[in-house]
Amino acid sequence: MAGNNPTTTEYIQHHLQNLTFGLHPEHGWSIAHSADEAAEMGFWAIHLDTMGWSIGLGVLFLWVFRKAAKAATTGVPTGLQNFVEMMVEFVDNSVKETFHGRSKLIAPLSLTIFCWIFLMNLMDLVPVDVLPMLAQKIAAMFGADPAHVYFKVVPTTDVNATLGMSLSVFALIIFYAIRSKGFSGFIAELTLHPFSTPNKFAQALLIPVNFLLETVTLLARPISLALRLFGNLYAGELIFILIALLGLWQLPLHFPWAVFHILIIVLQAFIFMMLTIVYLSMATEEQH
């Protein structure tokens, strides 16, 4: 357990706090020693653990896939190449089924989303105390107070990570919509649906209503995309933490929840990927 025999609440809070580096109004650029300090940093702070793990896992994914891609032969594939080709074909099929336009970007984007999110989610299956305790030991070696070393291993339980991805997807949605329909077409889609009438005057009255509805629809996409992934993984992580509090009883409980969680992490990665494809194909197609 973290720190000097913390209470249950402290234990949970400690686990849910990111390692934050930022511009504190009093201490300047520093690592936050508590949740309050982290909150005081406001926007100009960065979660070192989230960034570290997500970039590390992304690099791992790209390294493995790049290795397979470089060694790719047209002969009989073996081991790693088999796996990579299976993933690529799976993603490619999913994209082809849903996205009917031609785009060089969508398929690699989907592959990156799926594999990266899956790897980040996978960190959830590492027992909750192992890596944070390791980080505390290492930090203690460098003279830091272990109680202040926060460490959140699963990047997708950080809403910044999921929202960062979904906002990138959102930018792509708008880019694709404008590219395929033109700027005026994009505006028209926002203002002339779902209520339309041949009467010009009535149409003018309906434009604000349409705009309100469509804007909500548009904005709901990235937000729901981010919060769905975040919510699922956050809840899963929280339950792991609660199970870890049970002492001996965690052994029979941890295993079934971990097994169930395997389903969740794959499913959430898949859902994020599929919805991205669906949104982008909706943005490209004329009518909805």
Partner: protein, 156 residues
């Protein structure tokens, strides 16, 4: 869960990863997949072509076999016919030869008979003349009676 710079950092990392994947991972894998697909398709094509060739060759072989069998049968039949013909010919020849030989023999026999007759006639004529000589005990002018005796001889 406070929003901060991590959001932008994540978005940048995400963009870089997607770019890298699009640039260096996706194309080679896709290319090798497509090339392999083409290779397999070609292989299957070649296999089916070879199959067709094999079928054709088998058909041809069967055809050739059937033809040669027919030819063999034809040749056999011809040989049979020819041998029958030869036997027939030989039989005819033999029969003709036999007949000829019989005819020859007959002719010879006739000749022999005639010659014997002739001889006998001559002998008879001499005997008759001798007898007559003895009977008459006188020489008869042979030249004078020659005609008479010949006449007698032919009457024999």
């Amino acid at each position: 869960m406070n929003l901060n710079l991590t959001l932008i950092g994540q978005a940048i990392a995400f963009a870089v990863f997607v770019w890298f994947c699009m640039r260096y991972v996706w194309p080679p894998v896709m290319q090798s997949l497509q090339e392999r697909q083409k290779k397999i398709a070609d292989g299957l094509d070649a296999a089916s072509r070879a199959n067709r060739d094999l079928e054709l060759a088998q058909e041809q072989a069967n055809e050739t076999l059937r033809e040669s069998k027919e030819q063999a049968a034809q040749i056999l039949e011809q040989a049979h016919k020819r041998s029958n013909q030869m036997i027939e010919e030989a039989r005819d020849n033999a029969r003709l030869e036999g007949e000829r030989m019989i005819a020859n023999a007959r002719a010879e026999i006739d000749q022999e008979i005639n010659r014997a007759k002739e001889e006998l006639r001559a002998q008879v004529a001499r005997l008759a003349i001798e007898g007559a000589e003895r009977i008459l005990e006188s020489s008869i002018d042979e030249a004078k009676h020659r005609e008479l005796v010949d006449k007698l001889a032919t009457e024999l």
